[in-house]
Symmetry: C2
Subunit: 145 residues, 2 copies
């Protein structure tokens, strides 16, 4: 596990007319304020990343399909420097219905591993800005997908 | 249209690896603060409702499938008292990808009209509480679905 990543199980409550799923409450650990909520679709087998946020805290919930996330820590002063951490999040497997909280400074990439397109929600603590993030091509960080 | 309902078109940005969809920003009209985000699935043809929130403002976005919403205004002092308002929101039709902002005091029910299960996101300005909402059976408000 990388310092700065936290995983929280979320509830899916079964109801006859359609389930209710929890997401994020302002009292939840890792909630740093509301700037924006947006959604990222991922085509099967495609990988989005790498991206590192310098200021923004992310709260990620997979709402459709299944996504494999990979995080990489290259922070000089981090006790988990050089480490990768991978986790699968899913809307269709109750055990894998989770919120992933990502603090600033960690590289992230994610791949759709479901047969159909996946949908990812991200609640961020400040409105989206390209100025506070860095990008690298997939092959610039050495990870075997 | 009922006073207290606002409709905002949202962007779906096409990208090769999967689209990015807008949701809600804190600077958006109708945003009253963040209490919680949760999700309601709806089985095809099923109707959820009626429900009226007394304090909570809702921000509704359909993220999967298509949902028909019906709102009813029975507020004594409202200039739209007695009126119904219906609108369809969809994730698959860019023209119908919208945010519906619902201020307190309005009855709401919604039906899944897509072939597959629909998924609705709701951002509310205070954490969920059963104490600030009223419910009625479907047949208690006279609407022909």
């Amino acid at each position: 596990m990388i310092k700065g990543i936290k995983i929280f199980p979320l509830k899916q409550i079964s109801l006859e007319k359609g389930d209710v799923w929890h997401g994020l409450k302002k009292s939840d650990e890792g909630y740093k304020g509301f700037g924006e909520v947006y959604f990222s679709n991922v085509v099967p087998k495609q990988i989005k990343g790498w991206k590192k946020h310098l200021e923004t805290t992310l709260n990620l919930v997979v709402l459709k399909g299944e996504i494999e996330f990979v995080f990489f820590d290259d922070r000089i002063d981090s006790e988990t420097k050089g480490k990768f951490f991978s986790i699968t999040a899913s809307s269709t497997d109750k055990e894998k219905y989770i919120r992933i909280c990502v603090f600033p400074g960690i590289w992230m990439a994610f791949r759709c591993i479901s047969d159909d397109e996946a949908l990812l929600m991200d609640v961020i603590d400040q409105p989206h800005s390209d100025k506070e993030s860095l990008r690298k091509d997939l092959d610039e960080i050495n990870y075997i997908w």
